[in-house]
């Protein structure tokens, strides 16, 4: 097994964990963390499986950098919404999922 295969498999495992958390978690902060886990897994997979030839491949790296910026902005907005919602309603879950 080469290092790249190991990275790709680790990425796949992170994708699975993140997807599970995004669907199964109730607490919105857990879901946002799960989204980031899923995103990191995808970036790892993209970097490993997308690499062509010897040495570093610039295109996947450019894609990953852009993806990280996008994921960071999305996380910031999601956390902002979560905090604003929790201040008003006193809970950090969606109304229909409150225990």
């Amino acid at each position: 097994m080469t290092a790249l295969t190991l990275y790709a498999l680790t990425g796949a495992a992170l994708i699975g964990l993140g997807l599970y958390g995004l669907i199964a978690a109730r607490h919105l902060l857990r879901r946002i963390v799960a989204f980031n886990l899923l995103g990191s897994g995808l970036f790892l997979y993209l970097g490993a499986a997308g690499a062509r030839g010897d040495g570093p491949d610039p295109v996947p790296q450019a894609l990953i950098i852009t993806g990280i910026v996008v994921a960071l902005s999305a996380s910031a907005l999601a956390v902002g919404l979560l905090v604003a919602g929790a201040r008003l309603s006193g809970r950090a879950t969606l109304p229909e999922e409150a225990e």
């Binding site: 993140g18 995004l22 899923l38 993209l46 499986a49 997308g50 999305a74 999601a78 919404l81 604003a84």
Partner: protein, 481 residues
């Protein structure tokens, strides 16, 4: 400067200016940027119509290393329709989103978010690179979520959060498909992918991207976030969210299935998408029938109208007319739905609410916006001579040409259901009871009327848009497998 570049940079620059400058200057800067963007959209459309579609490789790097921006007939039609809707929305917002009426929070946030949304839409319409499309729809989702949450009420924040979760999950599924495509082909450009050597992972990649984008488009059964999100936002925001935002992810899907990976479009997969579309038509219409608030009726109607767009998918590889038909449906829905939300916004401001009983007799005080709603209803129900009728007619012709008459049924059934759910708000509006309310000026009522008239004009003067669309129309896969 190239009009394609202006389409992307000017609204973003306007959004920055609207944040940076004090309120009075900010609105002026936003409106100036909007006027320039409308001009750029028209310039691109005229270049496409003249047979010289603009195309640039960003930074001088051609694909597969760089990113190509290009406009074809589909892009041009969507750019112009978006420009018309955005111009109307911003004109309406000039009054209703002012600090005195809407509060300082909305007056500050609305302009940058609306322009950012516009820039993202334009980016999606002209990008030829799958990853650039990802960035475009992500920027679009961030702006759209912000517009849903802009009111700051607990229900609006919950609706925005629910929307955000669907949008984030959808983006990542799409991104997973993009990663698989890049791993297999080393290219993400739509034109390069069209001439690729098929790989075993392409079907999985297409499935992942489709699942993600349908969640963002709110196709049944991923529609649950849409009605509260679209109905909870202020009316001009709802108009953009319902009329324009779903079209972006839909256009990416259309390009994936007809331009980038048409050889992976198996009949079984197309039938599944078509069946979900039919389910959306029925479910959205029944949902609209069950509502008693007109904003929710209009929002559920979007779920049903999105269903039409997907019910056409099984016909796409079989008949040319299906492709133009579905685009006509998308364009006329954009014009009609924006007109409806803007009209509803005026009634809510006058009557203080949007329950059906509160709207009784409003047509007497506001004849023009009531007429706009009625014209938009004609388009949504697909009655002649509207653009909605023409779209349905082309799709039904395609269904009969292909010998697949089953896919003509949802078009007819959906029209009947739309007539049923739109009857109730119309009956309330035109009730013979005098409602004494402070009506907005004729000039303001003319804004939704112009949009609704556009939906009708699309059917009356269809030759020009059809000729525009023919530029770069993908060839059909004539083989019936």
């Amino acid at each position: 400067m190239n009009a394609l570049v202006v389409l992307l940079t000017l609204p973003l620059g306007g959004a920055l200016a609207a944040v940076a400058f004090p309120a009075g200057v900010a609105r002026g800067a936003a409106l100036a940027a909007a006027a320039g963007t409308v001009a750029a959209a028209l310039a691109v459309a005229s270049e496409v119509a003249a047979g010289a579609p603009p195309r640039i490789a960003l930074g001088g790097w051609p694909p597969p290393l760089g990113i190509a921006l290009a406009a074809d007939g589909l892009s041009a039609a969507l750019l112009v329709t978006t420009a018309a809707v955005m111009a109307a929305v911003l004109l309406a917002a000039r009054h209703t989103m002012a600090a005195g009426l809407a509060g300082p929070r909305i007056a500050f946030g609305f302009w940058p978010l609306a322009l950012m949304l516009w820039a993202a839409l334009n980016a999606v319409f002209v990008s030829r690179d799958l990853f650039n499309l990802y960035v475009g729809i992500e920027l679009l989702s961030l702006a759209a979520v912000g517009l849903v949450a802009i009111g700051g009420k607990p229900e609006a924040l919950a609706a925005a959060m629910r929307y955000m979760l669907f949008a984030l999950a959808g983006s990542l599924l799409y991104l997973a498909g993009v990663a698989l495509i890049y791993a297999a082909h080393g290219a993400l450009d739509i034109d390069l992918l069209a001439s690729r050597r098929p790989s075993g992972t392409d079907a999985l990649a297409l499935a992942l991207m489709t699942a993600g984008l349908t969640a963002k488009t709110a196709l049944f059964p991923f529609h649950v976030w849409l009605p509260p999100a679209h109905a909870g936002a202020p009316a001009p925001a709802s108009a953009m969210l319902s009329a324009l935002v779903p079209k972006a992810s839909f256009v990416i899907l259309l390009r994936l299935w007809t331009e980038a990976l048409p050889d992976e479009a198996s009949p079984a997969a197309l039938t599944l998408i078509g069946a979900l579309g039919v389910a959306a038509v029925v479910w959205g219409s029944l949902g609209a029938l069950a509502q008693s608030r007109v904003k929710l009726i209009v929002a559920y109607s979007t779920v049903a109208q999105i269903g039409y767009l997907f019910a056409v998918f099984p016909l796409l590889p079989l008949a040319q007319a299906a492709w133009s038909g579905v685009i006509f449906l998308a364009l006329s829905h954009a014009l009609a739905k924006a007109a409806m939300f803007l009209a509803v916004g005026q009634w809510m401001a006058a009557a203080g609410g949007d329950r059906l009983e509160e709207l009784r007799g409003l047509a007497q005080a506001m004849p023009m916006s009531a007429f706009a709603f009625a014209l938009a209803a004609v388009t949504l129900a697909g009655l002649p001579p509207s653009g909605g009728f023409l779209g349905k007619y082309m799709v039904m012709t395609a269904a009969f040409t292909a010998g697949q008459w089953v896919w003509a049924l949802p078009m007819a059934l959906g029209g009947l259901l739309a007539a049923a759910y739109l009857y109730r708000p119309l009956a309330a509006l035109f009730a013979r009871e005098g409602a004494s309310v402070a009506a907005p000026s004729r000039a303001r009522q003319a804004v939704p009327l112009a949009l609704a008239g556009g939906g009708i004009a699309l059917g009356l003067a269809s030759a020009e848009p059809l000729a525009l669309l023919a530029n770069g129309q993908p060839p059909i896969q004539a083989v019936v497998r």
